[in-house]
Symmetry: C2
Amino acid sequence: MVITNTRTHRRFNFFGYLALICCIVSSPLMAEDMLVKKQHFKTLNFKTTSGTVLPLVDIGWEAYGTLNSAKDNAILVAHYFTGNSHAAGKYSKDDKNAGYWDSIIGPGKAIDTNKYYVISSDSLVNGNVKDPNVFTTGPSTINPKTQKPYGLDFPVITIRDMVNAQHALITSLDIKKLHAVAGASMGSHQALEWAAAYPEMVPKVLSVIGIGETDSFAQAVLSQATKRIKQDPTWYGGDYYGKSEPTAALAGLLEHMLLHSQHGAVLDQHFKKVLYDDPATRLSIKNELVIVPWLEKAALKRASQLETNHMLYLTRAVQLFRVGHKATLEEGVESITAKVLFLPSKNDMLLPVYNTKKIYNIMKKQGKDVTYEEIDGPWGHLDGIFTIAQKSDTIKKFLAN
Amino acid sequence: MVITNTRTHRRFNFFGYLALICCIVSSPLMAEDMLVKKQHFKTLNFKTTSGTVLPLVDIGWEAYGTLNSAKDNAILVAHYFTGNSHAAGKYSKDDKNAGYWDSIIGPGKAIDTNKYYVISSDSLVNGNVKDPNVFTTGPSTINPKTQKPYGLDFPVITIRDMVNAQHALITSLDIKKLHAVAGASMGSHQALEWAAAYPEMVPKVLSVIGIGETDSFAQAVLSQATKRIKQDPTWYGGDYYGKSEPTAALAGLLEHMLLHSQHGAVLDQHFKKVLYDDPATRLSIKNELVIVPWLEKAALKRASQLETNHMLYLTRAVQLFRVGHKATLEEGVESITAKVLFLPSKNDMLLPVYNTKKIYNIMKKQGKDVTYEEIDGPWGHLDGIFTIAQKSDTIKKFLAN
């Protein structure tokens, strides 16, 4: 995959981008490819922040590198909204694709697996339940009491719940203190929440394309993006199990994500000259611009791979996100003792940098050890994945010091 | 109306904002209020850029100040997407509301009506056809050939068509050269298009919250925002005349506009503490965040005042916008000889400043006389209306020099 990490925004591999959006990162088979294995973590009687007790939580996880005997070299990586625990490496040598952060996780890389034991787990209510390498617990899970899927009886989940499930995993490995928690986008939500919830376990947070809280604007935008699902009769009020999934309605959310995860300049390189290349749009308002059918097709494909209710639960978790889950962000970050490296993307259209500046400024004012540095790439939000390697030295130094 | 023009973003009048979104700007009755009168301009056999000839175009216009004998002191003001020609003054002394740019248009103000004759006209396919003070020609107009509304037989309109209708108005007044063309948002689209189409008539352009072209990203976002209309069975494929209007579907577009015309920080001041003030959202994903019903109600109210097909035609005009309507923006601006003052809003979420920087940089590179200065206010896009008076001195000097 050609990823051009320049300020000129001249070149890019559009279909490489599309593949990545679909969670498939192509990279040539290298001799040094890490081979990784998906594992299960199961915990009983998991109490959610809403007060509900889940008899069984089962999430997938994988790891890169080796846990040292002191068990103090572990770095936890949390994944983004549509992502899963496959952050690096390959499942087999024949595997075409590596994990989404393979450019910065591996031997000698920014998050060096020669030094650190990197753990990555699937979130609660992960959307990729149809992926054989993803294990999660959510509304599509069989409720042991009824032997039917939970559906909307599944409790509303917050980012704190995701963190608590990871906390159970980490403590099950007898790890008392992590070296760091890292994540991009919703993964950053979890990383920062870890630092607020378990400050004694988190000395460092790597927040990539992250924010401190979802503001009213973003809450409303997300409700807009999921409205098509909730208004769709084939959603059956959330109880579509045993019927077909409302995939076409879910595609609306994916259209939003596909669009806003990137910058206009990138799309323009692909769809440029639309004005004169597509006279149909000047003949009738019924004819759509060329980007529209492309977007619809890509979103529908991605939607077919995801579980609709899980995506709605993820959306709600993101809507309710505020680090520390206190009445204000100021109160929420107070407990944090970790050093935090914020790496927002300069051109982010999904989580514009004003969000990151807000939490950075609040924490700085409180005397915390925080650093802010923008990723400068052509993609916008996706620069947190695609061109993150440009910050390899910064990340390496941050983790070492 | 209390508009606080500060960098602290501490105070604002939320419902004042809402009123303005609804095209009603409250201001106290002042002795010096300009009284204005709406006039008709009619032109026959108007040829659109698509090649269609409209037997009659009828648009509304109003003016402030006095045309001098040389007829060289006219400034044309074009309006924004949901706006109309009521840019300043009041229709009667009992009128509660003044035009949207009343803070900068009037005697002694930034656009000084003691010096300039300010003309403002309703656009083609204006959405406010139900407003008795708005006159426009569009799909709801009776087609003289069929004696029924044009509906989707009305030709697709571009920003250039809007400019050409204004050009017919201006030449009918025997004005050979304007002093300047000004506008906010879609009004800026028209102002810049004037400079590209009729360079000999436009020595100055005041572009407020303006851009050079609608990029693929924004094109797709607009298609998303109108999708609910086009998929609504009560739209009847555009032929709902004689039936009820698909207002509920049109509200989807207005929800998008209401949200993106402002900044998250402003909404947060109104809807803050949503997380703990509304536990219902943590009980079920079916319960929506408090901002959502507010947004839906406000959008539905505004939608009921607008004409659905007109809004779809306006959307298409905006989607197809590129200054000069050439194959590239670089070619499109080449013909411009006007001095241009760009005043984008620093916190704009609808037309982020990268758009304005793009045309500014292209024109600067071509050696044009361009100035770029950001409006710094709490509202985002709406700062081009609400806090534009902070740039009064800049505008006054620009128009004078």
